[in-house]
Symmetry: C2
Subunit: 340 residues, 2 copies
């Protein structure tokens, strides 16, 4: 009887945490980025650094700015401009998290009370706006119209994706394609932009820019796919998120798309009641997880993620071997194999 499930019983554990290895390779730059972040979230209005600091300090992995730094390193960049730009990526990410938590009415974020739960929805909306504006101020100071173009495009796509997700939220008829469109927009686009601007600051040719964009896009898709699986997995508690958050919100993710399509009429009635009507009682989450297990929905969602990981791996084929390339490739495995 499956109440919780692991991702893949056959998976090999990497010897070291590949993300830690990548972070170590850009550690000096990242320390500077952290200084920029702390410095540029200041405001005479004290609530702004308080609220922003609450979220920014609360244990985020800095995955997106790390990608910008690593991409710049992969491109042999010797300057300093990648650091404020990496801070901008984190600001935009933090602004979207703040607005997401308001839209999702979340109480928890990374295992602690979400900013909106502590400071209120109103402050979260406005401080999100501030961080977003501040990101554009910092980009203007950095003086790169190309990066401004990339990140303003990414921001518009992210909000389109969030609106799309809001519309499809409780619709069990959501197709795999529609789901992918949402996660590409709301997650993968910023990963893609974060990686791409590493090539842009380094002044590398379009082929390398495209390659890094593709790496980021496909990594982002895989990352979100696995994140959505983890919401139903044993490891979720260790992630510090409630198990079944997505289920309770009626958020249609790939495991549900697959279980719904592979289920019989009685099962589909169950999904409609719980996801569309949000009529949920004791044992429903357990039943949802059991149905996912029955139809291999979690396992196959991770298999889908492996496809995008493969595309991301080949995207980096152009770059010569280097420790940072090795680490970027290992992060791909880490993303699908992590259980935390």
């Amino acid at each position: 009887m499956a109440t919780v499930t692991t991702l893949d019983p056959k998976r090999r554990k990497p010897d070291t945490n590949a993300l830690d290895t990548l972070v170590a390779l850009v550690a000096e730059d990242l320390a500077d980025v952290n200084d920029i972040i702390v410095n540029r979230m200041q405001s005479p209005v004290a609530l702004i650094p308080q609220l922003a600091g609450y979220l920014i300090a609360s244990g985020g992995k800095r995955l997106r700015p790390v990608l910008t730094l690593a991409a710049a390193k992969l491109c042999g960049y010797q300057g300093e401009t990648h650091k404020p730009l990496a801070a901008c990526v984190e600001f935009i990410h933090t602004a979207t998290l703040l607005h997401d938590d308001v839209v999702d009415e979340s109480d928890l974020r990374r295992g602690q009370a979400s900013a909106n739960a502590v400071f209120g929805n109103k402050s979260s909306v406005l401080v999100g706006d501030f961080l977003f504006s501040r990101a554009f101020q910092v980009m203007v100071e950095a003086g790169s119209l190309d990066v401004l173009r990339i990140l303003s495009n990414a921001s518009a796509v992210i909000s389109e994706g969030e609106v799309l997700q809001l519309i499809t939220q409780n619709d069990t008829a959501t197709s795999e394609e529609a789901y992918l469109e949402v996660i590409k927009a709301k997650t993968a686009e910023l990963f893609a932009a974060a990686c791409r601007i590493g090539a842009v600051v380094a002044g590398r040719p379009a082929t390398e820019e495209d390659a890094l964009r593709s790496y980021g896009m496909n990594l982002g898709i895989a990352f979100q796919l696995v994140d959505d699986v983890l919401d139903y997995s044993a490891a979720q508690a260790r992630l510090g998120k409630n198990i079944g958050d997505d289920f309770r919100e009626g958020k249609i993710t790939l495991p549900i798309v697959l279980a719904f399509r592979r289920g019989d009429d009685e099962e589909r009635a169950f999904w409609r009641r719980t996801m569309e009507d949000l009529d949920q009682g004791d044992g429903d989450l357990e039943r949802a997880i059991a149905l996912m297990a029955k139809h291999n929905a979690l396992h196959d969602s991770v298999e889908r993620a492996r496809h995008y990981v493969s595309v991301a791996r080949d995207a980096l084929g152009l770059f010569p071997a280097s420790p940072v390339k090795r680490a970027l490739l290992d992060v791909l495995e880490f993303v699908v194999d992590r259980d935390y």
Copy 2:
């Protein structure tokens, strides 16, 4: 017995509406700006143009983009770039309105149901984010780092002002200075930016840029002061807003700052109960308006606005006489004399 009050019984009515005259002077450009607005708020996610269009089409005065067009005309600008930039100003304004209504929990905007009342808070937050991102995309296309700097700074200041307003919201100890700081940030800064970028696109010297910034800043302060007075005036119903909206929210505006400071202990107890505790009953709004009348709080708030209007008038002193200069000066009178 004053239940409602007019701004100033002695005021002279201008023969024509000065704002209409200004709009007429830039009518051709404004038609193009409207086309850009409609065109650039499109998205494959249909809810976005629906929601954005609901607000943008719902009878806004387009005051801010008109100021950009008029400032460019005053500077003798012959190009086209002021049009997309004017559209950006309106996008940023619309984004802040959407987020404002969520934060204020408003049900009405310009006499009809506010976007959040129709489409929900969640969509309003996300479509606000989209319009904001879109504004930056359009600015990047226009290619002016100077304008990007001005509008990203303005956006950051606006959100700081909104947060500051949120903090001071129910505090009767708010000083006139603190109130001014809020309205400078949340309203006047965008007026200032809108005017200033007219000089920037025209490539005019810093003195003209500063003059237009000052005109816009002081016009914006006067505009918001009068707006806050109108919330307690007979004309309010014609504006399509509920009379006493600010009162019900406990929003501390200058009329209340003045009435509180000029009142006796019993009156201050009334303001604390109604504004801080939000403990309001039948007749309280009428009492608030009567206390404002007793202490000339509305009249003197308009007098404060006249001060800023005078500064704005002198700011344009450098520019040679022209129909658009005349209209910009007349708009100043209109702003303090309007009762709608």
